[in-house]
Assembly symmetry: C2
Homo-oligomer: 323 residues x 2
């Protein structure tokens, strides 16, 4: 077992036990007749918005915070564009741990409201994810609180990997899926899929997708080193300007393809999902559909799972997309 391939099946199974106490798993894997027709493939939606915070992140948050509670941690600090912050805030309240969440000043207001509703302290810093990450690290040092990295955390990866187990393991929802497409910001989600797929020795291909307007993970994966790249996407769930060490190492070893989609294509995917499947997704949550549309020729007649990672779209974003 190498350093990176640490997240064994047993850790994911333990994580699933923890998660199952707080929301219902497996989340639905929904066959989409309309998208199947549109793409000439057998299209399934892994509904990772189906939990109390509306985003896949809660799997990792619950698993990590549960582990920190066992170690008597009393205060956690993290940075987030919203969903990771909601996840940590929600889980921390359940385990009675104080939480401080740094978000960009232009954060999605619905996500920020939720963080506050869950009882966390919220701090607005800077104009994107990268600047509030630095502030969070500094603040955690001042307070001697536990800084939570959005992706380089073992328990986050084994937590989010539980979604992949639900689909790919023997007796799972669709163990013979040909391709799973996963949206990427820092990469925790896609790494959960890669680790689970490898542990299960499944032949399923794992593809990542990212906004072309914030392509640090893609650039890092292509070049084989950690790259900093402009972070200009309007899809805040995909917003990051840096490749991260742990997730990049896992992606280098196990990711089968990586598709960039423009923000406009991602927004179109939100509209298509609304109109044809009547599923509400935030832009990041619809990125896998944008990638599938771009890769239409390569998925023809295949069984494809689109990971619909979150639904936390603001009214302004939705109005803009519908108009």
């Amino acid at each position: 077992m190498t350093d990176t391939k640490f997240t064994e099946l047993q850790e994911m199974r333990s994580a699933a036990l923890i998660i199952s106490k707080y929301f219902e798993i497996p989340t639905p894997l929904l066959f989409s007749p309309s998208l199947s027709e549109k793409l000439g493939a057998e299209v399934w939606l892994k509904c990772e918005f189906s939990n109390p915070i509306g985003a896949f992140k809660l799997r990792g948050g619950l698993n990590l915070i549960s582990a920190l509670a066992d170690k008597n941690c009393s205060h956690v600090v993290t940075a987030s564009t919203g969903n990771h912050g909601q996840s940590i805030a929600y889980a921390a309240r359940l385990f009675q741990i104080a939480a401080t969440i740094f978000v960009p000043e232009n954060a999605n207001p619905d996500k920020a409201d939720s963080i506050k509703r869950f009882g966390a302290e919220i701090k607005y810093v800077g104009d994107n994810f990268d600047s509030c990450r630095s502030a969070a690290i500094e603040y955690s040092r001042e307070l001697n609180a536990r800084y939570i990295h959005p992706a380089n955390e073992r328990e986050i990866l084994s937590g989010v990997g539980t979604a992949a187990l639900e689909v790919l393991e023997a007796g799972g929802q669709l163990k013979d899926a040909d391709v799973v497409i996963v949206p990427v910001g820092g990469g925790s989600g896609v790494c959960g899929w890669i680790l689970a797929r490898d542990e299960l020795s499944s032949p399923t291909k794992i593809w990542a997708t990212q906004s072309a307007q914030a392509s640090a993970a893609y650039e890092s994966w292509i070049s084989g080193k950690l790259v900093t790249s402009p972070n200009l996407t309007t899809s805040e769930g995909l917003s990051t300007g840096d490749g991260y060490s742990l997730t990049q190492e896992i992606m280098r070893n196990g990711l089968d393809d990586f598709i960039l989609a423009d923000d406009s294509e991602i927004n179109d995917a939100v509209a298509i999902m609304l109109e044809t499947q009547h599923v509400l997704l935030e832009p990041a949550g619809a990125a896998a559909l944008a990638a599938a549309i771009k890769a239409k020729e390569n998925i023809k007649s295949k069984r494809v799972v689109l990971v619909c990672s979150g639904s936390n779209i603001s009214r302004a974003q939705l109005k803009n997309i519908i108009d």
Copy 2:
């Protein structure tokens, strides 16, 4: 056992076995932190839009069509404002039975498109549900095809009742729910809940809700006889001008309360569900939330399940509600 209390637990369990082959059950029961805060209650959403047609009706359609296939039925005819028609069309294709669906001329275009996509013959007649129901009955007689009533069908009730079993039975998702609120058109959905609740001897209260602009089921329930009443709602999933014999008898014996909400309140509920919980529902699907808001004082501190019965909102409806 009386005539009406025919849908025994065993029939529902058999229905669940059939349904589970075609989509994933139980559908999610989602805790809503934001709606709980808003209503001062513990609010849970039964996500009945979580299946390939986006509406609870598919449970009943699969169960009935499966039974008809066993009897070598070759052609079914029904009338629908959309979701029942999608359900019958989808199930009929699976069982290789021809289907003709009568819909009103102003039918929700997304629902009509789905009916055609599922390979059914579609016929547009009249300006509301009631007129296309008469046409469907006549057509079925001409062809000697099996007419499917939208609610007075034993297998439809036991099919839709499976949702209630998932929540209320021992070991279910929330067996100690205080109140379940169910949107009503013809009443098949709410009757499934009543029958299951009674069979399980559960103390949970079942409340119905309907549009004040199409209140035939309410008027029939209040007066104890089958009433015809103006059918002017813009929420096509709740559209009906008549009380139906079978569902009214079950409601008379087992329904605990009935709340009317105006179309405008129902549309507001769609917007609230979008903004606070980021769940997309069609107006009928959000009617239970509209009722909960109206009955806020009566649900305080209670465990309340809102049955979110469908998500098939058209772009025009959604745009209108967001603007």
